[in-house]
Symmetry: C3
Subunit: 130 residues, 3 copies
């Protein structure tokens, strides 16, 4: 099994960044034909999810809806002011596993892979494994 680390610079406090093309690129280099593609986020205030890649309003709604559920300002103890980001990351999760069939990511028609920044902007890392 091979793991590749790539850098993901983010540009806002909260950002869902489409990384599908980066993952597809690593898959093509790996020459894996059938299996699983893993993406893993080694952070505690960022995560990764899958969602719609067509209408950007979906991503905006996801961000606003998560902010409504877990506001940045709240009755938190942690002094760094990013307690919301820690919970948001645990909600969307830190990894996704996507089938690889006949050398291609078996994403659904409307699925893209989104790196979820919840406490940026920062330089982040994403691990991709096959």
């Amino acid at each position: 099994m091979i793991w590749k680390e790539i850098e993901i610079p983010t540009s806002a406090r909260v950002q869902l960044k489409d990384v599908t093309a980066l993952v597809v690129n690593e898959l093509q280099k790996s020459k894996v034909n059938n299996g699983i593609c893993y993406v893993y986020v080694p952070h505690t205030t960022a995560g990764v999810t899958i969602n719609e890649n067509a209408d950007p309003d979906v991503v905006t709604d996801l961000i606003n809806n998560l902010e409504r559920l877990v506001p940045v300002k709240g009755n938190y103890r942690h002094a760094e002011g990013n307690s919301d980001a820690h919970l948001k990351a645990s909600i969307v999760c830190f990894s996704q596993a996507i089938p690889v069939i006949d050398g291609r990511l078996a994403l659904g028609t409307w699925q893209g892979i989104y790196f979820c920044e919840f406490d940026g902007p920062r330089r982040r890392k994403l691990l991709i494994g096959f």
Copy 2:
């Protein structure tokens, strides 16, 4: 690694459908003895989770509780009226990984695998891999 696609017809806008027997059936055909069973949902308004297979009130509470957290009607931009479904899917996740030990799914006593429809009824797909 082998992936199998099965059809999951759903019958309501929101439905948690127990697919455990379908997954067990594929496991038995696969003859895998030790490893992992993956289930993957290639959609953006449906997901998959694990939860109690005994009292159906648990599933009803899960559905009602998710609806309370992310209501179908809200201040959303996306024009298709299913922004809630996109977030609900990201919350429960698009895949689950279940241990296979001695040819059996190592689900806990009370665990079942639920396909989570959040914008049905539709004909959906589920990928099962070993």
Copy 3:
């Protein structure tokens, strides 16, 4: 692939218990060098997540924030009084997959693995697989 079951005693109704050292211990015994480490919770009112291992206030905020979103007392049907725990477990998920690189868990600097008890105290199980 090898699965190991370990016991996790919990000591409160809701508790995020750091199990990183237990997982690392199993990894060392397994002699796996490159691959994936899976942790799987075979329960329906407990789960597993990854989050910060430094400031304990982060864990306190995670617990309080989840309780605010999904209160123990609510308009639930399920008679056992733990409907909140079932949803909390589905939110954080029942498994995590962590890269193994050069014989080490490739957790981020601040990441720890937390067994999430939502209906304790109980004797729980955790499956660890490589």
